[in-house]
Subunit: 207 residues, 2 copies
Amino acid sequence: SIPKPTLERLPLYYRRLLQWREEKVSIVSSADIGKNLGIDSAQVRRDLTYFGAVGRPGIGYKVEELISYLGELLGINNVNEAIIVGVGNLGRAICSYPGFAPYGLSIVAFFDIDPQIVGTKIRGHEVFHVNDLIHIVKRLKIQIGIITVPAREAQKVADQMVAGGIRAIWNFAPTRLHVPEEVIIRSEDLAVGLATLSHYLVREDLS
Amino acid sequence: SIPKPTLERLPLYYRRLLQWREEKVSIVSSADIGKNLGIDSAQVRRDLTYFGAVGRPGIGYKVEELISYLGELLGINNVNEAIIVGVGNLGRAICSYPGFAPYGLSIVAFFDIDPQIVGTKIRGHEVFHVNDLIHIVKRLKIQIGIITVPAREAQKVADQMVAGGIRAIWNFAPTRLHVPEEVIIRSEDLAVGLATLSHYLVREDLS
Ligand SMILES: NC(=O)c1ccc[n+]([C@@H]2O[C@H](COP(=O)([O-])OP(=O)(O)OC[C@H]3O[C@@H](n4cnc5c(N)ncnc54)[C@H](O)[C@@H]3O)[C@@H](O)[C@H]2O)c1
Ligand SMILES: NC(=O)c1ccc[n+]([C@@H]2O[C@H](COP(=O)([O-])OP(=O)(O)OC[C@H]3O[C@@H](n4cnc5c(N)ncnc54)[C@H](O)[C@@H]3O)[C@@H](O)[C@H]2O)c1
């Protein structure tokens, strides 16, 4: 098993690695990892051997590999995979949007309730029935759910997501969701974008 | 014609009225209007008679009515009407979203290029061909355009909008638009919402 002081250093390594990933750095040395954190590079190497991460002498460690090792170990994994429920107009537009890839994000499973939609394929993925949500989310360890169903269905879908282990919900349905305190909700209201634009126009006319 | 000092006070009234509209206030007196602006209520009444706005003694003026009078006069009107080009998945989801109404915003005309879509109706409005954009935008004096077409078509559509007199563009296509300096562009990237949510998850796990 892993000594407690090592376990407490791992989230610091993880956070630093994520910053590197955002800066598109792909290889780092144990000295790099220890530098900003005030940890001796030999200690970093010892820590990383506990979960089998092997650096190549003179080259270093692969950032992506360490992130996935550490993520697995810290149980933080799967912050980059999401599922979506409600594959209507908005859901389809979100599923086929290429803009998520640059953030390392991807929508890995689609759900709906309409028999005409369930079973069809979107970008090669089959649309599942929402009744299968809980066990699919549990199996894939998905932590992020996207809600694009009509407002009156949204609470029921949120309850199913939480039952499956979803810890963060991106909600488009214009309604307030009630979920346990530890579940994060981000409600999106596109109208704010249009209102802001309109406001700029007025401001420009008045200046 | 309207005296210059009156003309200079009108935008101040207009800005104040807009704030009231957002606060859902529907009737105000000349004393209310003058109060925060340090203008005598008799002067406000004289100013407002120049364009025929009549307050009802003891009751006041209707906020909406004054906004539309002043908007017309100041040429700022139509900051609440938008047109949309590209009625595919995202476009349809935006057209049928009820969230714009509370901001006093509405999408008044839809355009597409696909013969299967042009001529069909969405919420009772006929979808026009994009070739009719310039003259319809000019006729309706529309100032806001929404772009929900594929990235490779977006610049062409932006040029048509600017030619029609559009002064603010809400762009969803993942591409950089080149427009004259006085045209405002707001580019929306929904991926930021998902990335932020994912980031919260990581931060929560690390705390
Ligand atoms: N927040 C925003 O800015 C914004 C913008 C546009 C639309 N919306 C909202 O997004 C939602 C979707 O809009 P749309 O235009 O795509 O609607 P839509 O009717 O085209 O799609 C809704 C889909 O949800 C499915 N569905 C319904 N109940 C379900 C359930 N219990 N489980 C699984 N699937 C279910 C339907 O079968 C349909 O495919 C609406 O709530 C709408 O108000 C929000
Ligand atoms: N910014 C974001 O967050 C976000 C999210 C989802 C989708 N998108 C983008 O929005 C756009 C639309 O996505 P979608 O899923 O609705 O695509 P879609 O293919 O379903 O719809 C595009 C529509 O535009 C029409 N069109 C094409 N060229 C045109 C032209 N020159 N004039 C008028 N209409 C034209 C097509 O006929 C079609 O109806 C894409 O650029 C997509 O990348 C952005």
